[in-house]
């Protein structure tokens, strides 16, 4: 599992967007994350943005995809 210092899903999203760059590719990567984890990084439900379990789950999936955030 990824070791993350991110405080929120929005923090995670921002770092990923910087790393990926291309908007279409960024959305595709987050779609992959949602399909394989259930975590909606871009549009979390109220109360989910700072949920550390969800942040860790999404970060782990991104680590598997080669993104070290």
């Amino acid at each position: 599992m990824a070791v993350t210092t991110m405080s929120s899903l929005s923090d995670l999203a921002g770092r990923l967007e910087q790393q990926v760059g291309n908007p279409a590719s960024y959305r595709a990567v987050l779609t992959r994350v949602l399909l394989r984890t259930g975590v909606n990084v871009r549009e979390p439900k109220p109360g989910q943005n700072e949920d550390q379990a969800l942040v860790a789950k999404a970060a782990a999936a991104l680590t598997e995809m080669g993104y070290r955030l």
Binding site: A28, R32, L34, L35, G38, N40, K45, M65, G66, Y67
Partner: protein, 382 residues
């Protein structure tokens, strides 16, 4: 149809209804005409032996990837049917080069896909992780009987997260006994075919399903993910909660209800459909794809399959400035069954037609993940 006057920037499509594989192959090759092929795809009913067709296509088109799979119905822009073979040639005017590989999954999906990716990378002399997604695209055929699609897509996402692999799960005319994928003269009933294309023209990926949220949503609170079973919705037995939502009793839930009311994982306002298959002992519901605990899903209702298919195809053509060389299309068997039931075959062909199209009716669709009751396609420009 005489395709001899087509340019090298147009896909060649073909269909044969012959159950003799030799005759089918001759008909397909005859319909292709003279063409400088970069890749060949075929989709064959299990009623027609696929290996002889593959061998004949390999003989006609040596040194290019020939891939295929068994189907639950096949179509081109000229018609849709079962029991035959549809096929398409991607010419060099559309695809600069193509690299394919067979991933045998018996020893594990991760190892099989990794080996196939490495094979393709070696052929292209390119890391798929670094492949420009505006230039390269993958086509994916997965056997439809082993439930491997989710992990196949995940591993592809791990190895090449920016590269789209679009495709479908092989079918077997609703026998649910054995599906096959073909690569060259090899066949495999537990495997996947990767075909990566270095595309010379603009292209676009489309995904369409004819459903909208009803306003009723559920949280998955218990599931057996590998077996695609949901045990609880909102903390209660899944079959009971679903039945209440569709105003039925559990014992009256059948395929017609499930087909009309799948669940949708909403992403950026678009539904990614998860289709229920059956109620199982213990009041769980088995699905045609995985749903994870914690996921929030919407109960969907059907809209306009033909109209929305037509609209998405037209948009794709418009996005390519009305200069289209053709498309490879993957259409869910559940959509085909609805099309058959409502006598929409001609309407479906018209909706995807107007451009050269070849494809098959699948046991599931792939794009970024495994999905149901959806049409996915790659539309190539000029």
């Amino acid at each position: 149809m005489d395709q001899g006057l087509l340019t090298q920037e147009e896909l060649r499509t073909a269909y044969s209804s012959s159950i003799d594989p030799g005759e089918a192959a001759r008909e397909l090759i005859g319909q292709f005409g003279t063409v400088d092929a970069a890749a060949v795809l075929f989709f064959a009913s299990p009623a027609v032996a696929g290996e002889p067709i593959a061998r004949a296509l390999v003989e006609r088109f040596p040194a290019v990837p020939v891939i295929g799979c068994t189907s639950a119905g096949e179509f081109t822009e000229r018609g849709t049917a079962t029991g035959g073979v549809s096929a398409v040639v991607l010419p060099h005017g559309v695809v600069r080069r193509a690299a394919g590989a067979l991933a045998r999954l018996d020893a594990g999906v991760d190892a099989g896909i990794a080996a196939a990716v490495a094979d393709v990378e070696g052929q292209l002399q390119l890391s798929l992780r670094d492949a420009d997604p505006d230039r390269y695209i993958g086509l994916l055929l997965v056997d439809g009987m082993h439930g491997s699609e989710e992990r196949v897509n995940e591993v592809l996402g791990n190895l090449a997260p920016l590269l789209s692999f679009v495709g479908g799960s092989a079918g077997d005319d609703l026998k649910f006994a054995k599906t096959e994928v073909f690569f060259g003269d090899a066949s495999c009933d537990h495997g996947a075919i990767l075909l990566v294309l270095d595309v010379a023209v603009p292209f676009t990926v489309i995904k369409t399903c004819s459903f909208e949220p009803t306003g009723t949503s559920f949280t998955i609170t218990a599931a057996d993910v590998p077996n695609r079973i949901v045990w609880e919705l909102n903390g209660r037995p899944a079959a009971e909660v679903y039945a209440e939502a569709v105003q039925r009793t559990v014992d009256t839930l059948d395929s017609s209800v499930f087909t009309a009311h799948p669940l949708g994982l909403m992403i950026d306002g678009e539904p990614w459909i998860r289709s229920p298959q059956q109620v199982i002992e213990g009041r769980g519901v088995k699905f045609y794809c995985q749903i994870l605990p914690g996921m929030d899903v919407d109960l969907m209702r059907a809209t306009d399959l033909i109209g929305e298919t037509r609209a998405v195809m037209r948009k794709a053509v418009a996005d390519l400035d009305d200069a289209v060389s053709g498309a490879v299309v993957f259409n869910c068997i559940l959509r085909r069954l609805e099309i058959d039931e409502k006598n929409w075959n001609d309407d479906f062909v018209a909706a995807i037609g107007g451009i050269r199209v070849a494809g098959f009716h699948t046991y599931g669709e792939s794009w970024l993940g495994h999905i149901n009751q959806t049409l996915t396609a790659v539309v190539f420009g000029r």
